[in-house]
């Protein structure tokens, strides 16, 4: 599979699992597009710093758009409407996001708020689970907390009726960049 096929499959599968995807082409104003999608979700944002966040100037853009941004501190992400986290990889076969979430803030921001905005470089989509695990096996010490996320949190425990948003987010927006 070529990289654009991988990306297409990834998006199709992620949507099938209940996520939303937003592809931002190179040269586009990524931060503006993300902010436009975030508007209806709330104003308090738990933001985890990362190279990609830096690159697209998301923090400044959020502040400029009058979002209330927290980056650390006691009770981080507990009262936020939206958590923003960069992920390491995408798995095309199942539309899954993968990240080394040893950093506590990554776990909190991607789990506690009702909405999660996941940032992913579009070149980082691999075909399947085996490739994703090989990536971490090759990169030295195995991560302390490796998290795979596919779609929003869900349950079918009452009458097998699919309901989203149990303990984790009810909305997962995957932003694929460049």
């Amino acid at each position: 599979m070529g990289s654009s096929d991988l990306l297409t499959t990834f998006c199709r599968q992620a949507e099938a699992m209940g996520a939303q995807t937003l592809c931002v082409a190179e040269g586009e104003k990524a931060a503006d597009r993300i902010i436009a999608s975030m508007r209806p979700l709330g104003s308090r944002v738990a933001l985890v710093a990362s190279p990609l966040v830096e690159e697209i100037g998301l923090e400044e853009a959020l502040a400029g758009a009058e979002f209330e941004v927290e980056k650390e501190g006691r009770d981080f992400a507990r009262h936020a409407d939206i958590g923003i986290v960069e992920f390491d990889l995408g798995i095309a076969e199942t539309g899954t996001l993968v990240h080394d979430a040893t950093d506590l803030k990554k776990r909190l921001a991607s789990m506690l708020p009702l909405h999660c905005v996941a940032l992913l470089r579009s070149g980082k989509v691999v075909p399947d689970m085996a490739e994703a695990l090989s990536f971490y096996l090759k990169s030295g010490q195995w991560p302390g907390y490796l998290a795979m996320v596919t779609g929003p949190s869900r349950t079918a425990d009452i009458e097998r009726s699919l309901t989203i948003g149990v303990h984790g987010p009810e909305g997962l927006l995957i932003v694929l960049l460049g």
Partner: protein, 722 residues
Amino acid sequence: MASRDFQQRLQKALQNPSLRGALERFADSYVVSREQVFAGRDFQALRERIAAIKADAAGRYEELAREFARQVTERGGKVFFASSAAAARDYILKVAQEHRVTEIVKSKSFATEEIHLNEHLEGHGIRCFETDLAEWILQLMPGERPSHMVMPAIHLPKEEVARVFSNYLGEPVEPDIKNMVRIARRELRERFLRAGLGISGANIAVAETGTVIICTNEGNGRLATTVPPVHIAVFGYEKLVPRMMDVVPILEALPRSGTAQPITSYVTMITGPVPVERDGREGPKEFHVVLLDNGRLKMAADPVFKEALQCIRCAACTNVCPVFQLVSGQVYGFIYSGGIGSILTAFFNSLADAADPQSLCIGCRRCAEVCPAHVNIPDLVLRLRERVVKEQGLPLSYRAALRGVVAHPGRMYTLVKAASRLQGPLSRGQPFIRRLPFFDNFTRGRSLPALAREPLRDRARRLAPPPERPRLRAAFYSGCVIDFMYPEIGEAIFALLREAGAEIVFPAGQGCCGAPASYAGDPDTTLHLARLNIASLEGAGADVVVTACPTCAVALKYDYPRLLGRDEVWSRRAQSLAAKVKDFTELVGELGPLPRLQGEAEAAVKVTYHDSCHYKRHLHLDQVAREVLREQAGVELVEMAESERCCGFGGSYTLKYPEISRALLERKLRRIQETGAKVVATDCPGCLIQLRGGLDQKGSPIRVMHTAEVLYRAGFKAERVE
């Protein structure tokens, strides 16, 4: 006989329509969605891989446990090897007390249920909160039992859940599922944030890296292992796999088999302690693993039952189990339910505790088809039954019937002949006994077959002489049902094979194949009958041994060589017999279309085919039978829905669990009636007893015939099949 408690639970479950409705609806949709989610994948190859990985691991748990512990310890975590449930409970309590924990959040873990952890901790003033939605609902309903391994509250209607939530909150809650899930989120979020300790299970544990893997959809696994400052993962040795890449096939199969999902929302891999927030500051979490033995190492050393440790707890086996759909997990009585559950219970609890649960297996083998770890559950259940019988003995009535009569073909013959003369007042000359005095439960919904006036072994002497130059010499092994109840099937077979140019004889001295004894857990009687039948059939000097009963065929082909495997001489004789055994319909398929004597068949009759369990899933001849029927002039084959679902016969099962048997039969009869067929063909005399009995009580004109009878009537005699 089943214990009183067990019988009470069983009756209660069978009389609960909402439980049954929910399980059946799920099971029906599961079959379809499972097929979709595995589409395009090589399921056989996948399960071979998983079986190989898990079997290898089971062969060296202690080595893997040491490696796993070394990895966890190097990262700063602690591993406790718990030999028993009590040792595990004490350790967890000690950790909780050291940290002055008063509240615990739990993410679903079978192992903690197995060791009754909640009760133990609550007894010491520590409150445990289940955080999986269904588990939490059940926790709010004291005395309520989980009905399913993966969906424990599947039996509760939303109105019931609303009532539970209203009680809990002290305010009215509407039965709106979305809103109730929000309530659970809000209430449990508080618990997550306050708890001093999180307890999880594990779906897989990787020795190479010391990693604990947890799959959840709700995200409770992630929160329970992220928010509280202490985490204890509790799981058994059977979760261990050697290498990280071993998790790939397991993660491919587990969610697909469990809930027909390609993957769960969250797959969490935890390796050692990670940062956590404690008193407003970030610091390292305290991480413990309790690796539970509690019978597993003994199981791993058991040459027969080691196989059950391959199980990945997906519950696919119970999802397709026709008995489970009627009784639910609430009946089994222990945390692990279904056939696999009874095997695990035998080792994690005791053999005595497994006695009742194992007896529910009707042996239809549907579970063996879908198990992603390639565990032969029905065969293991039979081996378990043998051990139960060895320990507890056979019930007296079984003992008398099996060892006193069935084991002796001469005695059986005399007794059956006498009974056939005495049955007059019951059968009134009809082929059925429609009501039994004192035992009306057995004849409710199903007439019993009357015994034939003259068994096949007597009739065989009079049947037509062999052709001059036979194409082959066949010996007929009839089995009890054809011999004593339906000799006309044997007559049809004799006539058809002779017409096809084969010589066919009925070897004297043959007796019951032993299957009733095998299914009752009495292999000694089967062994005795195996020797007797081998000697009898060898004497015929035949090229093929023809059977028309799949249960008998399985005994001759597979059980005899296994039972006689240790005896060099008998083992050879058993194998040489097994190689000659051929099912009648299979033989017809090979000989080519049978010649027809006279005239053209009239307009084709609609025939539907019922797959008998052993015929399809043991002998794998289901398609052969359909081809033979399709080639037969005068027959129009129409498929019925769920043709492969068990009819509920199962031999003595009809006597032991008549209500279950009847419920399975009712469903089968509905499917038959939906087809509009005038005839049901099947290749198993046992299914014939069940289906004919059921249709007779309904007063239905639909006829049930052995495939041999269909061929005989439609082709050879050029009669209408009806």
